[in-house]
Amino acid sequence: MSRKIDDATMDNVEILAKLALSDEERERAREEMEKILSYVEKINELDTDRTEPLVHILESGNVFREDEVTNGSGKEESLANAPRKKDGQYMVPKTV
């Protein structure tokens, strides 16, 4: 069986997902993704030429809030989940 997902695509997906997979993990991921693709291909067999595209799964719209401040300081609560913090900020690996 020819592979649906070639090595170059796997490389690209790893970069986008910021993952470094071992050879074994990579093959398992490839197999799982190929199953997903087969499933989508099945859907593609349907003739949708005369079907209006579905823009949203729910029919209604316009769920709004008014522009009023309802939240107070969330600092303590937000930072409670931070693995590392400093001076009231989240500490993360160097980015720039």
Binding site: F64, D67, S78, Q89
Partner: protein, 476 residues
């Protein structure tokens, strides 16, 4: 003969909206607060937190779209743009790709080479990211999510601009419209207006587009101009050497005045956009559009025309005053209070502009009370103060919004209107200068100027020279 090149520029402009709260949560959208105080589960991307759209953001987007002659999509939707970076806690930015709120508009710009129409491809609503700063001590980055979820409108132009001058004119126009609408203060330096420049070059006459690069981090009109000139030269040099321009994102370094490659530009497909199932579609009725249209303010061109007709201002004054809504409003209120529109215009275009320029301020930052300038103009009219003194008072009005009459009294800047005091000074000067008095009486009329000067000196400049002149002639 050397090849002639044409620069092709399109802009992606982000304006930060001046709403009270963020786009999808009730956190305040104000700046300069302690890091992470304006955060909640929604804007820090906690699993399970549900975003709810701020209605004002939709209205601001409609206002801006209508002002820029756009079509409004009756049905629009939010999509997720996926990327991993710590400024983005959800790992996706909520934006609009497939059904943006506005599309196909245009703005007229004016440059030295005439008028031009710049087409707008689309405008969409999205959320801002957090702020990252580098920590030297720990060699790590620190994240503040106060800005995460602050509403933005991105305005995407067509590649219709050819010069830096056109780009600046387009940005100025956009800024002016936003300020008139009150949707954003559009300060490049402070990041409430950000412009990414997409630029390519091609041989003059060519119909095909060259490969474009995108430049980011342009924080002033000067940086934009230099970046455009530098990038044009860089691309032409590559082509002349037979090499290729690579499609990439480049970051402008204001200190080095040059750009460097950040990363090769992602394709839209790399962002794996898909509809955000947490947010309901936005459905806009004809009635809603009509309501917004009715609320649109009078923009600069109509206002300038009205200022000429209603206040008899020269065209030049009217066009300068209406460049900023704040300036136009202050002019109009002050003119209404003192009934001297041309004098108000002179103060606005002269001293006001001079002081703004000196302080590097935007006319939108003007904050003095119009009645203070009106009172000063009336005091000048009544000759209670001279021009010199009035300028001094006006500086204080600009600086501290002082009440002019009490300030004049307090600082002893009031002119002496008491004839008795002027008479006494005249008599003293005549007694001190008997020879000059004799010269005058002997027919040397030009010594009068000297005597007037002496009286003014005695009055410390606080007398009307016309009155001094008349009194002197009388007594001589």
């Amino acid at each position: 003969m050397a090849k002639q090149y044409e620069t092709v520029i399109g802009l992606e402009v982000h304006v930060e909206l001046s709403t009270k709260t963020k786009i999808f949560c009730g956190c305040a959208a104000t700046f300069g607060e302690e890091p992470n105080t304006h955060t909640c589960p929604v804007c820090t991307g906690m699993p399970g937190a549900l975003p709810v759209l701020n209605k004002k953001v939709v209205e601001y987007a409609m206002k801006l779209g209508i002002a820029a002659n756009c079509q409004i999509n009756r049905y629009s939707r939010f999509d997720r743009k996926n990327y991993f970076y710590p400024d983005n806690p959800q790992n996706y930015q909520i934006s609009q790709l497939y059904l943006p709120i506005c599309h196909d508009g245009w703005l007229d710009i004016e440059t030295a080479s005439g008028n031009k129409k710049i087409r707008i491809h689309e405008m969409h609503m999205e959320e801002d990211a957090g702020k990252l700063i580098h920590d030297e001590w720990e060699d790590c980055s620190l994240v503040d999510y106060n800005r995460s979820g602050v509403p933005l409108i991105e305005i995407v132009s067509e590649p219709d601009m050819r010069t830096a001058e056109e780009v600046i004119a387009y940005l100025e126009k956009l800024k002016m419209i936003c300020q008139y609408l009150g949707v954003s203060d559009c300060k490049l330096q402070e990041g409430s207006m950000r412009a990414d420049v997409n630029l390519s070059v091609r041989e003059v006459g060519s119909e095909t587009m060259g490969t474009r690069t995108e430049m980011k981090n342009l924080n002033s009109f000067k940086a934009i101009t230099h970046a455009i000139e530098g990038e044009r030269a860089r691309q032409i040099e590559l082509l002349e050497e037979g090499r290729q321009v690579i499609q990439e994102t480049r970051r402008w370094d204001d200190n080095k005045e040059s750009s460097y490659s950040m990363r090769s530009k992602e394709d839209a497909k790399d962002y794996r956009y898909f509809p955000d199932p947490d947010l309901m579609p936005v459905v806009i009725s004809e009635g809603w559009i009509e309501d917004i249209k009715k609320q649109q303010p009078e923009f600069a061109p109509e206002k300038a025309k009205r200022f000429q007709q209603e206040y008899g201002l020269p065209q030049y004054d009217a066009s300068i005053l209406t460049q900023s809504r704040r300036m136009a409003d202050i002019f109009e209120e002050t003119a209404g209070l003192c009934g001297q529109p041309k004098k108000v215009s002179n103060w606005m275009m002269g001293e006001t502009m001079r002081i703004l320029k000196e302080k590097g301020m935007d006319p939108e930052e003007l904050s003095f009370t119009p009645s203070h300038l009106a009172d000063l103009i009336l005091a000048l009219e009544r000759k209670e103060i001279n021009q010199q003194g009035a300028k001094q008072v006006f500086e204080q009005i600009m600086e501290n919004d002082v009440e002019p009459i009490s300030y004049m009294k307090e600082k002893g800047l009031m002119m002496v209107s008491d004839d008795g005091a002027i008479s006494r000074a005249v008599e003293e000067v005549m007694a001190e200068n008997p020879e000059t008095v004799e010269d005058y009486r002997g027919g040397k009329e030009k010594v009068l100027g000297f005597l007037v000067g002496q009286v003014m000196k005695k009055m410390k400049g606080k007398a009307d020279p016309g009155k001094v002149n008349a009194l002197l002639r009388e007594k001589l």
